[in-house]
Amino acid sequence: MALEDMRSPIESGCPDGFQYMHPVMRKNYGMWKYHTHPRPGVLLHVAKSGDEIWTIKCATQRILDVFTLRTLCDIGDKYADGFIHFTIRSNVEYVVDDEAKVQPLIDAIEEAGFIIGGTANSVATLSHTQGWLHCDIPGTDASGVVKSMMDELIDEFKNCNMPNRVHMTTSCCQINCGGQGDIAINVQHTKPPRIDHTQVGNVCERPSVVARCPVAAIRPAMVDGKPSLEVDEKKCICCGACFPPCPPMQINDAEHSKLAIWVGGNHSNARSKPTFQRLVAAGVPNNPPRWPEATAIVKKILNTYKEDAKDWERINDWIERIGWPQFFEKTGLPFTKYHIDNWRGSRHSLNASTHIRF
């Protein structure tokens, strides 16, 4: 396009949300009284005015083709007053103002192959990243991992049999775009980057790459007469932070990029303060197309939690009560030297007391 044909952008920013809300939501904005949970996947919110809104939550494949998007819209038009809300975990929520509309809507959603559930004390859809489909630095896929895992956890999505809600996440590198989760399945590299010294000088802004390393293991070097970078492999923690700013420092490896599993991340302030997830398992094979080893560990953790935790305990609450030694004992996961943190500020994670369960 020639410059004179270029159209200046309208910098409208974030659009007004009220225009896209169900009229019952607009009318009762900020005036809701309580909600109930009539059945898995269904919420009833009652406003101070007496108005009701029924929410039916369902899962999709998240990466939608336009056909699927239109199917969702067709359901919305025919059964749900023409409105769609997406949750932050990419589930679809339809809202209707009358209980009579609920069952026909549920039938239509199920008929179209979407999965109703994900409310209250269920295992919600994994929040996930882009993976091999679109990311420039991924160690694994994301949508495929989620599809494989949810195929096996679907009953826990459709039913509410957990002590409290379980939010799972998955991330394709250690930056962890998937975020904190009650259970997180994340790539963990185990070998230093392999450096293509013929490329570094051309492709990478070397001082930025040196600065990016969390443990100062990278330094400038001349290799075969070319400016490059070298890694002190004894210091390197294999985090992959150098790879995004310097693609010739390839961190991904078909064999040595593994998965690690973390538990107890919780964003809510309910009961305890928000918590970060903690390492429980590593060395899990990155095994497409179905990643069965990772799913097996996740199921083991979920089943132990389901049997052992009290109502309303999230995974972090449960482990806080029973203690980490029992977590490892009950799940059968090995406790290793890698579980003992040595990052900055980590001494507070050691047990400086005689509080020990026998």
């Binding site: 952008p9 974030c14 809104i53 819209c73 309303w312």
Partner: protein, 421 residues
């Protein structure tokens, strides 16, 4: 597919099995059933490259620099490293588009967006990416401008990508939640739309994210996932409907209420009375939300509502995970002046960080490096004991300014008392 042969995808085909909806089946619908040959070809090529990734366990996308006229960001450029094998998806950029706060849509609007995307892109879209954008996945160098022009005309704008203010996110909020203590729609739009220039033209040390949650349940994950977290709360007494409390006790039993409500209170602020009513020590309630979540009909937030602001949450890169830190324990958000003040606070913080942050250093990392007190002095905020979990432990600190600081504290307290009198 009219002309070219479909790539074999034996590994991806495995992902069409099982009861969960399959994204691979969606890709194949675009490849086989869409009337537009370009979309057929893109989907086939994308499937081919993804299968190649599954076989070799590696990704094959490279970044780059690309944007629309007048902007410097908002697009995730993707060029294939194996584009000679998978030609039709060799350029496969993602357009990041800002959704409304709370992610509400009409079907009409979704259809309109879908129609535009079908004209200029791959036909693949995600609601939403982890930063909060609508992700229109897969278009060419040429079509990014056409697609943007099209949707920009009917009210949509690009989000942030790169070192800039990123697209904001908010929970479902007051539109459908009885726990909401603030107007997420207003907060979100006032903040985001004050910074459109910083969204579209990346010029900051690194990313800066705003997230809004209506209550301390923090369904939007704001404390850990945003540089500037706004969380609704209240400071008067929580509301207790004692008749509903009695009804709950009658339905569930006293033991259940003791085990699941009163004994779970983190500050022991709840007592179940002999007459099955609930006593609340409101002064010691930390607004954790647990009892309100469990006894949803009986317990509600109070009337004196506002927000708590926490600064500096982020994930691992580079110094390790950080939660946000309380900066403003309570702020009313009712008048236009109140909203002006929160915008000014955000401007102050972003300006200070833009000035003092290192390249690729998040705001929370800068605070870690310079210390919270230097940050507070830089942005002109007074210290407050709500900012800390524990006071200083180590005596290795120079404190010859103690008397002046103590006087400041008492003066501030006296001013507050006078203002409240």
């Amino acid at each position: 597919m009219a002309d070219n042969k479909n790539f074999d995808t034996p590994m991806l085909d495995e992902l069409e099995k099982g009861p969960w909806p399959s994204f691979i089946s969606g890709f194949k619908r675009l490849r086989d059933d869409h009337e537009d040959k370009t979309i057929n070809g893109m989907a086939n090529s994308l499937l081919g490259q993804l299968e190649h990734s599954y076989e070799t366990r590696k990704g094959y996308w490279k970044g780059g620099t690309i944007s629309v006229f007048g902007y410097g960001g908002g697009i995730i450029p993707r060029f294939s490293e194996v584009g000679d094998q998978f030609v039709e998806s060799k350029e496969f950029h993602t357009m990041r588009v800002q959704p409304p706060a709370g992610n509400y849509y009409t079907t009409d609007m979704l259809r309109q967006l879908g129609d535009s995307w079908e004209k200029y892109g791959s036909g693949l879209v995600t609601f939403h990416g982890q930063t909060g954008n609508i992700m229109f996945i897969g278009t060419t160098n040429e079509n990014i401008q056409h697609f943007f022009d099209d949707i920009n005309d009917y009210g949509w704008d690009l989000g942030g990508a790169g070192p800039c203010v990123r697209t904001g996110m908010s929970c479902v909020g007051a539109a459908r939640c009885e726990q909401s203590c603030c107007n997420e729609q207003a907060i979100h739009r006032h903040l985001m739309n004050n910074f459109t220039d910083d969204v579209h033209r990346p010029a900051l040390p690194y990313k800066f994210k705003f997230k809004v949650s209506g209550c301390p349940n923090d369904c939007q994950n704001a404390i850990e996932r945003s540089d500037f977290a706004v969380i609704g709360t209240w400071r008067d007494d929580m509301k207790v409907d004692q008749e509903e409390v009695k009804a709950y006790v009658a339905a569930k039993g006293r033991q259940h209420v003791i085990d699941n409500v009163t004994s779970r209170c983190p500050t022991n602020a709840l007592t179940l009375n002999d007459d099955d009513t609930l006593a609340v020590d409101n002064k010691n309630c930390v607004r954790c939300m647990h009892c309100l979540n469990v006894m949803n009909k009986a317990l509600s937030p109070g009337d004196d509502r506002g927000v708590t602001i926490l600064i500096g949450g982020k994930r691992t890169l580079k110094i390790g995970d950080l939660m946000g830190t309380v900066l403003v324990p309570f702020k009313k958000l009712e008048t236009m002046d109140d909203y002006e003040e929160i915008i000014e606070l955000a401007e102050e913080i972003i300006d200070f960080w833009a000035e003092n942050g290192l390249e690729h250093e998040r705001c929370g990392e800068m605070i870690e490096r310079i210390g919270l007190v230097n940050f507070l002095e830089g942005i002109g905020i007074d210290v407050d004991p709500n900012m800390i979990a524990l006071p200083r432990q180590s005596s290795y600190v120079r404190m010859d300014g103690w008397n002046d600081e103590a006087i400041k504290w008492f003066e501030r307290k006296a001013e507050e008392a006078a203002a409240n009198a």
